[in-house]
Structures are given as C-alpha cells and as structure tokens.
Amino acid sequence: MTETQIQPQSINLIQAVNLAMDHAMAADPKVLALGEEVGDREEGGVMGVTKGLSTKYGDDRVKSTPISEQAIIGAAIGAAICGYRPVAEIMLMNFVTVAMDMITNHAAKLRFMSGGQTHVPIVIRTMTGSGFGTGGQHSDYLEAWFAHTPGIKVVAPSNPNDAYGLMRAAIEDDDPVIFIENLPSYWTPSEVTFEAIPIGKARVARAGTDVTIITHSLMVGHSLVAAQTLADAGISVEVIDLRTIAPWDRETVLAAVRKTGRALIVHEAVREFGIGAEIASTLHEALWDELKGPVKRLGGAFCPVPYSKPLETAFAPSADDIVATIKAMVAAH
C-alpha cells in the first residue's frame, strides 16, 4: 500500500490526512468518505481536510451529509458490512456523544456479536483541541471512553508523517478505528515519507535514560520541549509517542520504562479515569520490582474546558508542568 514513487515532502497535518485519503481512494474503489461538508460543494470540510476528494472521486463516493451524526455513522457501518471502507467525519470530538450508540453498540460489537460473520472497517475521523476559546462543548478529549470499549481501535497522530501513515493503516484495518486529529497541530508542516505506520506500535520520539514520558498527540511536542529543558538540567528523558492509544504498545512502553525506572504519563484529557490510569496501573503491575518510584500522571484539570484564556491555558499540562513534575520525581526517588 505504500506509494513508493512519492518523494518525501514537508506538509502539514491537514494535507497529510488529505493525501492519505486521496491515495487510499485511488488505490481502492471501496474506500469512501462522508460527513458534514466533506464535499467540494461545501469547500471540502470546514478545515479543508477532504478538499478535492469529491471532485476527484465523485459525489457518490464522497458524500456531504446533513447534520445527522447517528445517520453518518450508521451509513458508514452499513456500507462497511457490505464490503466498503468508509471514512466518516464527526466534525468535533464532542459530537461523537450524539453517535455513541452507533459507535459503541454497533461498530465496536458487530464482529463479535455475529461470531465474525460481519465486520466494520470504518475510520471515524474527528478533531479536538483547545486554545481557541470554543469552551466546554468543543474541546473534550474522549479517547478513554473508546479505549474502554472492546472492538474499537484508537489512534492519535502527533505530526503529519504519523497522520499520513496511521490514516493509511486505519483505512486498511479491518476493524473500526477512531482517528483523533488535534486542532492546534493542524498547521505545522514537517516531513512526510508516505508510508503506512502500523496500528498498535508506539514511536520513541526522543531517547533518554532517567525518566520515560508516555504521551500522544499535542502533548508529544510539549514533552519534547520539556525533555530539552531537562537535558540542560542534567536529566535525560525518553519520550514515547503512543500513536495508538488502543490497543497500546505495551512492549515498547514497558521496555522504555524498564530502562529508566521512572515514568510519567501526559495527556490533555482530564487526568481522573483517563488513559494514563490504565498505563500507570499496568506499569506498576508489570514492573513492580524495577520502578524507582510511582508512575506519575499529568492530565487536564477536573472541569469542562473553560473559555477565558488564563483558565483555558491552565487546563492542560504545559511543558513547565512536565519539567516540574519530572524534577520532583527524580528528587524523590
């Protein structure tokens, strides 16, 4: 599935997802796209992620929809069990709440409940992110809900290369995949090699020996900044970009933490009952004798995402928070 003839290019995440869908649609006529405004008549998506696809592949394969999230996911599921591979867009992650029945009772379960007779190879693209004053109903991070739902995979790229590679893999995957795009990450270009990236494999974003940060999406960038600051202070930090949240890459994460003996999990989602809890618990169970101290977690504040700038900024972990937490960890144990 890799387009070997394509030269690496520096593009942003919007372009990377666009090209991944484009290449997948060119390679396989069963790949479809649907969602509010995804067609070119509506400018190819509010963020332009699907721009050009309906013109290239036709209005039957790329369908703009009414504002009907249940029907959007339902239509994707129905087409999928008939052999198609729809990429459905739910404009913002908060709006998956309207379609949770379709996603968790149907997409996630049809393979199991049918004893493997049907399966649902859909990708649900959705976007979230704070920093734009959109307030409590537009910036939630709900990956933990889906990770707790057997039958669904969850991926969250932190950069354009991963976005391309994970989208190609997600479309090829025979199971439903939630593909989480991060709004503030959309416009930063970097090199994309146009290769599929396997679902379920994490990436070592920076090697280090004293502390391991396990993170994903926007927080990878913050963690790398923090790691640099800490390096200057003599603390060597390894940063693992999960890429896939469910099923998460235990092997890579355990190996990394075994090496450093200290782990910090960082995510934007509310810390309480977030995905960090599962990873931390697993690490404690698996590496009880090897950990130098307890695994720590940083996450969003326990409140809806607030509007006012200082509150919104304080909501999610910052590079400074990461630095301070790691310094305390190293000092304590």
Binding site: D101, M113, Q117, D173
Partner: protein, 327 residues
C-alpha cells in the same frame, strides 16, 4: 390498493410457506422455553407473520435486511436457515454467531440477514448505509430496515429517513406497527394516526397498509421494492398488525385489554391465509398439510441438532473482538 400488484397463486403459496414456518417456529421456541430447555429473552413475532412473508417473496439473497430483537419472522422469511438459527438460540458453537450473539443479534449474511439489533431505532441508520452500498454496487439490490411503532419516535428514525431520501437510496423502511411498544400503546406515544404520514417530512413516499392482509402487503412491498431497484428512492411502509403475546416471553401483557387481544386473535392472519390459499386454488388442504409437516420436521431436526451441539469454549471470549486476536 387497486393500483398495486397482486400475488399470483404460486407467490401466495410462497407467502404461506414462510408464514407457516414462522408460526411453527415461534410455537416451538416457546414450547422449548416452557419445557425449560431453552432459556433466552425471546420476543415472539406471533401475529406479524404476513408482513415479512409478503415482502420477502419480492427479495433475493442479495437484498439485505436489518431487523430487531423481535425479528425471527423477518429472518425466516428472508431465508435464514433453521439449523444455525436454533443453534444460536441454544448458545452453541454451531450457531450462526458461534453462540456469541444470541436471540437479539442473529446474523446470516449469506441470506442477507446482516444485522439484528437490540437497540430501538438503530436498524434505520445501518440500513441506510446498506442502501448506500447497494447504490454504489449498482446491481439494483435493496435494503430493508425493520422497526416497530415505538421506534418511530427516536431520533435515528428522523436522521435516517432524511438522509435516505436526500441520497435517493434503495431502502425500505418497514415499520411494523403492532400498536404496542413494550407496555406503551401507540396512541400514548404518538399523537398522529399514521406513522407513514411522517414520510412527507422527508420528501419520501409513505404508505400505511394492513400488514396482515397478504394481498395488500404484497402489493405495497412489491411496488416499494421495484421503486428502490429502479433508483427511485426509499419508501416508508407502515404495516398495521398486532402483537399476540406480551413484549417477551414472561410478560403476561396484562396492560392489553382482553378484548383487544381476543379481537386480534380472532383475525389470526396465518389460518386466514391458509383459507385464502385453498379458496384461490393455490394449494389443497392436503398439500398444505404436507408443507406444514415438512416444516415441522425441519424444525425438529434443527432443534435436535442445536441441543446436541457443543457449547463454545471460553477461549472464544478473545476471538472476534478484532480481526486478529490480541496478545
């Protein structure tokens, strides 16, 4: 109903065959439950046999249906074979879903039984997607969404009908209006008299029909199928019927006025159809008896096979969650 096509005698006999299979099967399920041999949440379709029977004679294996917990009539009419059905009810590894799905999730893609759902309203969005696939396939196949009168008040109804109409999809939205949603009467959940009138909200064709009348039901369904195959878009059919039993086995249905049940049962559509078949000369009483006997024998065989098959191994918990078993 004068403009609608009528079933010829061979078709009428087909409808009878399906309806009789459904009725006998239903009786057998309840019998096995009463005997304590089968323990399952079972939603009897008794009283609603004609609807899917009169529809399915116009469908092929390539046409696809989505049905609900109360769905064995829809499945059997569509051709779902008895053995994997019974084995699934009995929770056996030989069941169509390896025993993992059960009564409310019976599935058999070979005969177009794509999804059985336990969530009210969810058949409609999924059937919309099957209709989209059918349109893309371009082979003139059709998708059917079965649902009840109660389901017509849930949001997914609205979204699906609007989208299917807008996209001109080959979908038949088949509302089996049995006048009850669990303990709630149709009139206590809906102010309007005919659910089919809601089709107007979507620019869709809508029609209410006596679902227990094989001629009327056949005609309305046939036209809807033909329109769908011809690319003329979806239809909302409201098939009026009655649920003979409580919501599920165990519910005595005390909230249903006694005379309401008595009246409905006095018009039991299956013996009525039998009478029509004979009257029209589609078959003799003896021929029908032979058909029924064969049906009973086939059910018997399926039941015996089901109960003598193996239960699934606990290792099955890890299988079919994803395409590949997780480590």
């Amino acid at each position: 109903m004068d403009n609608y096509p009528k079933p010829d005698n061979a078709t009428l006999l087909d409808i009878y065959r399906k309806a009789s299979l459904i009725r006998h099967n239903d009786e057998r399920v309840i019998k096995e439950m009463m005997a304590g041999k089968l323990v399952t949440p079972y939603y009897s379709p008794a009283g609603q046999e004609i609807i899917p029977s009169a529809l399915s004679v116009s469908l092929t294996d390539d046409d696809k249906i989505v049905t609900i917990y109360r769905g064995t009539h829809d499945m059997l009419a569509k051709g779902f074979p008895l053995k994997p059905l019974w084995a699934e009810l009995a929770g056996r590894i030989t069941g169509s879903c390896k025993g993992k799905g059960g009564t409310m999730h019976l599935t058999h893609p070979e005969t177009g039984c794509m999804v059985t759902t336990g969530v009210v309203g969810s058949s409609m969005p999924i059937a919309t997607g099957i209709g989209w696939a059918a349109k893309l396939d371009g082979k003139g196949t059709v998708a059917v969404a079965n649902f009840g009168d109660g389901a017509a008040n849930i949001g997914a109804f609205h979204e699906s009908l609007n989208m299917a109409a807008l996209w001109k999809l080959p979908v038949i939205f088949l509302c089996q209006n049995n006048l009850y949603a669990e303990h709630t009467t149709f009139a206590n959940s809906t102010l309007i008299a005919r659910i089919s009138d809601r089709a107007a909200s979507y620019g869709m064709v809508g029609v209410t029909v006596n679902g227990n009348d094989p001629d009327a039901m056949y005609g309305v369904a046939r036209l809807a199928v033909e329109r769908a195959r011809a690319g003329e878009g979806p239809t909302l059919i409201e098939a009026m019927t009655f649920r003979f039993n409580g919501h599920l086995v165990g519910d005595a249905g005390n909230y249903i006025p006694k005379d309401e049940i008595a009246t409905a049962r006095s018009k039991d559509p299956v013996p009525a159809l039998r009478k029509t078949v004979i009257e029209r000369g589609a078959a003799t009483e003896a021929e029908l008896d032979a058909i029924d006997a064969a049906i009973k024998a086939e059910i018997d065989e399926a039941v015996i096979a089901a109960f003598s098959a193996d239960l699934p191994d606990v290792a099955e918990l890890k299988r079919d969650v994803f395409a590949h078993e997780l480590a």
